[in-house]
Amino acid sequence: MELYHGCLDTKEIFGRWLDEQSDSNYGAYIPFVGTIRAEDGIEGLSFDIYEPILQQWFEEWVARAKAQGAIVKMAHAIGDVPVHTSSYISAVFSPKRRVALELIDAFVEDFKANAPIWKYDLKGGKRLYAEDRSTPMDGAGVLA
């Protein structure tokens, strides 16, 4: 897992991940790029991350992938990221395509639901919590 301040250099990261596995005999490599769209007048997005729990979340996925002979990778931005650049990328390597296709789907969806990352719209000089697009994590409400 890699965290960067500001937008991601997607080509460098994907290229490096590919190079690292060049002799690993994986038959499938599936990258996913999350690009910030210009919508609702935003200048960009901004992110807070709670790294200790994100790391645990990621390591559970590493173990889940390993059990299927696969590898998962991810990188995410911290702080402000302008529109039309990338704040999140991930990838799966596996011996055959089916495992990688299914894993990238489950991995990205669980990332959206349970990775401890908070998103803010950057608009008119303000940093506004994207509450309407945010999802309570599994187990939310225990203190209510």
């Binding site: 709670y50 999140y88 203190l143």
Partner: protein, 74 residues
């Protein structure tokens, strides 16, 4: 015993210390704080960076309870 409660992301509140021996006691004290109304229902909870869902979870002196509001990575 004294434990610490921290509020992550957009809750934007300073950490607080309180006397509590279970998460249920933490819950009761936080519910009394009007500024947290609306957050408790939506927040997941971690104890010393491990997610917890059981209110009877016992606490030790120096424990750190974290409130994690709704997330949206990517």
């Amino acid at each position: 015993m004294m434990i610490k409660v921290e509020f992550l992301g957009p809750i934007a509140r300073e950490p607080m210390e309180m006397e509590a021996t279970t998460l249920a006691e933490v819950s009761a004290k936080l519910k009394a704080d009007e500024r947290l109304a609306g957050w408790l229902e939506k927040c997941a909870v971690a104890l010393n960076d491990t997610m917890v869902t059981d209110l009877t979870t016992p606490l030790q002196a120096g424990d750190r309870v974290s409130l994690l509001p709704p997330v949206c990575g990517g």
